[in-house]
Amino acid sequence: MNPVEPNKVSSEMADKASAEWPLWEIFIRSKQGLDHKHAGSLHAADAQMAIENARDVYTRRMEGVSIWVVESKYIHASNPAEADALYDPANDKPYRHPTFYQLPDELKHM
């Protein structure tokens, strides 16, 4: 049996793993929730391992009842530099909110 030097081995292996294993984005649906919410990201060799890692990392304290994983490279994001053009124009258009309707008194739970 080969003696293992845990510290040395683990830091080397960690570097190697993060270099070789792709990053995955993890989405968790809680018991009460209807939607999967982004929980964080982690490294895994494949989708199966990503789900199991997510189970161990993100659902240890009963946070969820369902897990989605997506390889991070498949997430496409809007460019923060374009935020002005993308989002500011909505700022002065309150008529897009459905707050101008008169609701009948009989209507509850709106």
Binding site: P6, N7, V9, H43, E52, R60
Partner: protein, 251 residues
């Protein structure tokens, strides 16, 4: 007489879970990657939790002020009834994973039967633990397949681990004196059918992992009757030091 058998039988289940749980906990902070460090630590905690349930029951049966702590921290190696497999050193990641796979497969079929034990308490503990063990088995099987059917290096290492561990697998199915009595008393699990199921599962996973199944190997034994390898003494020295040096201390 029946109580002595039940205590021994329960302690055997507790010791198995505690010792392999303790071994796995040695990985905490040293896992190959953060996610797997957490995974093996979770498994360690599951097993130590199972051990606590069994120890609490054994303490209740023992009486005379015995507690889960006195059973875990104040018994010597000769009183420990765990299988030798549980106390073997971790080796590399592959060896730890393979040991867990062999052991979880055993626990999986054992607890399935123990759920139907005539002893209500053992049955309830087994039912609760089985959910955890189902995951341990899934996790460890996948790692064995990944390493066996992986790179040349991972295959070489897991083959070495099979050589290292295989001769310790037979003991799980050789009934100790109290296991035979427990079967006669109706609350213990007959190990013969467990062995058949174990063989089948091991064969299917090793085959998928493109690994050979060892045959006709002489098997080690003794742990269940208190005859341990030198490794258990070191585990207990570390685990029991505080309670022995500062009796009754808490934090």
């Amino acid at each position: 007489m029946k109580t002595t058998t039940l205590i021994d039988y329960t302690l055997h289940l507790a010791d198995n879970a505690l010792i392999i749980g303790h071994r796995n906990s040695e990985w905490c902070g040293h896992g190959p990657v953060l996610e797997q460090d957490i995974a093996i630590s979770n498994i360690a905690l599951d097993l130590i939790g199972q051990a606590r349930n069994f120890y609490q029951y054994a303490a209740q049966l023992t009486g005379n002020g015995a507690t889960e702590d006195s059973l875990a921290y104040l018994r010597d190696a000769i009183d420990y009834k765990n299988c030798l497999l549980a106390e073997l050193p971790n080796g590399d990641w592959g060896q730890t994973v393979l040991r867990q796979f062999f052991f979880s497969t055993y626990q999986y079929f054992l607890y399935q039967s123990l759920q139907k034990s005539t002893d209500q308490q053992l049955a309830a503990i087994a039912e609760k633990a089985l959910k955890e063990v189902t995951y341990h088995l899934r996790w460890s099987s996948e790692w064995v397949i990944r390493l066996g059917d992986g790179t040349d290096e991972s295959k070489k290492r897991i083959l070495q681990s099979i050589d290292e561990l295989w001769s310790y697998t037979g003991e799980m199915f050789q009934p100790a004196s109290y296991e035979t009595l427990a079967v006669n008393d109706g609350f213990g699990v007959d190990l013969a059918p467990i062995k058949i199921n174990w063989d089948e599962k091991i064969k299917s996973v090793l085959t998928e992992a493109t690994l050979p199944i060892p045959t006709n190997v002489w098997m080690q034994s003794g742990g269940k009757e208190g005859k341990h390898t030198e490794h258990l003494g070191f585990i207990l020295a570390e685990m029991q030091f505080l309670q022995r040096a500062y009796p009754g201390s808490e934090w």
